[in-house]
Symmetry: C2
């Protein structure tokens, strides 16, 4: 693709225009991402109107900002008229206020009114990701008339493969797929064929719930209704794929104790990134003083049995890992809908049995390892092994029950479980360890 | 939905059939999941053929097995004829050998041949998730003829919204959307309108790469070609959504040190689950002996400065959390395509700056906290604070560079980074801590 720059330098504009406009919008957007600001602005001018709008809609908000700042009002109007409605909304949500104002001045008064209404939908709501570009039909349309209507109005629609049947007050009466229209006899009406029991969402529904509906019912699009059940938009599957990925990323972040962010990593500021991580690190650090105070409390035990300290990291680490395994399975299982509240008992029983198997295996391996390779005494090896066994059981039960409890009281399982879990398990591991040490090594301990 | 069982007990079969068959397949599948085996088998018999097949395709393999075992060959044939081709393949992949044989005996010879070919595609390949149910057209078809062809052949196709143009040897020549066909003038041919530059995949391509294409190009379906570029199937977006979710789950599992599994959690066996977790726990446990041996090495330092041990869990925990934040950001960024190899320097520079901000903040807070609340000496507070600062910088750099290096040498970043990272950071934190202690507390240490 580097030849575009070459062609420009050779002033071979004819070939430049031909070959640029022959590319797929997604490939061009990828190519533009690598250019510097000036190259970007220059080459963008050679794109035909519709392609320019498509490429523009793929860009980061930073890139979009650069371009908007570089073009005249006339060119901005052209660009905007080529953008899909939901891309316009996305653009306005990302732009700084004075640019958003410039954009709004370049759309028609009617559209501005609708845009302003859309901008008021809360972030991550169905309203914030829907578009108004759908095909609506009436019940009394015959099949040929409906097809003619689709031909006339469908060009700029986000999809024509599902059409929406509304009455004169815009109440949704049903949906029909283009497939059913194509397959139907010509003498039938839309009302005869439409599916009256439609799956729909509200503007205020959370986008994650909308995505769950798409997955459950294998939808390509879904109608969005206002609080009076009037059709005001649709959501299409391409936007839902973004939602699924976004929600996945959010869960990854939460489980790694990072506040979720909508900013792209590479363009986000250092202080903004630091802030997103600092808060949870601080919470975790303070809660780790709990483990510190347990060690402080048992300092005499630690001092009297040389070697006890050696195994603390391994015990805490293994407990933490075992707990994280369980909590991840449960959190992800709940996120994708595989596990539910009512499975709690089943989950706990299963984790208990799994932890006995895992704990027993690791306990035995450790016992042998400590005796043979570390050259420690049998009571010491026993202390560590039993602690491993008990810690794993406790870690796995805590790891599975904590996310379920979090969800039950309305907290986000991913957010709450991961950070809390480590602290709890670390504390449990230490308590078990020191108590086992006193019990088993008791006679040999010299606790001044 | 409980009334279905009631209706059955009241022997009100007419109402039972009416109301059962009035439900959405996805809702019925959800309802059936809650029934016991006998209820399931009985109620399933009241479903009409097509709905039965749809509900069946939503079921877990355990449920499918119960049903197949309970029905006659005749009913099995009926059920199979209603299943989409890709659902048949999924079914056969999951069934035990003797059931798969029973199923294969109940499809036609021609279909058996194709099925056997499909069963040979490697797991997670494009071939394993494609279907043969697509509409193909010829270049010379006129628009009305093409529409007529779609009407005649389209009923059972997975999608009719993208049609595939092939020549007599089944070489793919282009694609066309139903939208373009509907919008076209009647006197044009498919060849005039089709898109010749098509995005396609090979049977052997990894499903994750296929999903990336869907995301990049906003596809609804993609053609699958064999090694001689002949069209042999298509992949539709509903299956890609499953892939995206599956791959997300896999990454979650890997980062929590669980071997990926295709089995549903609730039905998987205890020993199989234990095995999936044991291997990594063992690796991590053994690698944690590294930290143990560091403590052992510095035991004299630990024994001579009462209080040093108290801060070990907090230091290791904070380092681990800081590193996990960075590695998660980088791993997820690479998984969704936001970050690439060539961004390495940018990432490292950014993480370095973020870690300085975060480390400084946590170092200062700790210094104050240890002096005021823990009542420790200034040198001790200084030792802990400097260790925090250095550990966070090291953890964040290791956390971001490790996944990038793993990917560079062809390893899975999610799999390798998370487990290795904890061990490395724990070791680094301890080394920094004990060396700082000797440096700062040196004069006051009484190292017998």
């Amino acid at each position: 693709m580097l030849r575009f720059q070459e062609l420009y330098q050779q002033k071979n504009f004819k070939e430049l225009i031909r070959s640029l406009n022959n590319q797929h919008e997604a490939d061009l957007a990828e190519y533009f991402r690598e250019l510097n600001k000036d190259e970007k602005i220059i080459l963008f001018r050679f794109l035909k109107k519709d392609l320019a709008a498509s490429v523009f809609s793929y860009m980061d908000s930073d890139e979009q900002l650069d371009l908007i700042n570089s073009i005249t009002d006339h060119n901005l109007q052209q660009l905007l008229s080529g953008l899909a409605f939901d891309d316009k909304i996305d653009l306005l949500e990302e732009m700084p206020a004075h640019i958003a104002k410039k954009v709004l001045q370049n759309v028609s008064g009617d559209e501005r009114k609708i845009i302003n209404q859309f901008l008021n939908f809360p972030e991550n709501s169905a309203g914030s990701i829907m578009t108004i570009e759908y095909v609506d039909l009436k019940k009394h349309y015959t099949i040929p008339y409906a097809l003619e209507h689709i031909r006339k109005t469908g060009v700029d629609k986000e999809t024509i493969y599902t059409c929406y049947i509304i009455d004169n007050n815009r109440y949704l009466q049903g949906i029909i797929s283009l497939k059913d229209i194509i397959m139907a006899n010509e003498d039938m009406t839309i009302g005869d064929l439409m599916e009256g029991k439609t799956i729909s969402v509200r503007t205020t529904d959370d986008q994650e719930e909308v995505a769950a509906l798409f997955k459950k019912y294998d939808l390509l699009s879904v109608p969005v209704l206002d609080h009076e059940n009037r059709l005001i938009g649709i959501i299409t599957i391409d936007d839902i794929i973004d939602v699924i990925e976004e929600e996945g990323t959010e869960d990854f972040y939460k489980m790694a104790a990072i506040e979720a962010t909508e900013d792209a990593y590479l363009t986000a500021g250092v202080f903004s990134l630091a802030k997103k991580r600092l808060i949870w690190l601080m919470v975790l650090m303070v809660s780790a003083t709990l483990t510190g105070s347990i060690i402080e409390h048992f300092q005499p035990v630690l001092n009297s049995a040389i070697g006890l300290a050696i195994f603390i990291p391994m015990l805490m680490g293994t407990g933490g890992n075992a707990g994280a395994q369980s909590s991840t399975l449960v959190i992800r299982g709940m996120a994708v809908g595989e596990l539910r509240q009512k499975d709690t008992i089943k989950i706990l029983y299963k984790e208990l049995r799994v932890s006995l198997v895992v704990g027993l295996a690791l306990g035995i391996i450790n016992f042998a390892r400590i005796l043979v390779f570390e050259g420690q005494s049998i009571p010491m090896a026993l202390t560590v092994s039993i602690t491993i066994f008990v810690t794993i059981a406790l870690a796995k039960l805590t790891g599975s029950v904590l996310p379920i409890m979090a969800k039950a009281v309305g907290l986000d399982p991913a957010l709450i479980a991961a950070p809390l879990l480590t602290t709890i398990i670390d504390a449990l591991a230490l308590l078990v360890y020191f108590n086992m040490a006193m019990l088993i090594l008791g006679p040999s301990l010299n606790m001044g």
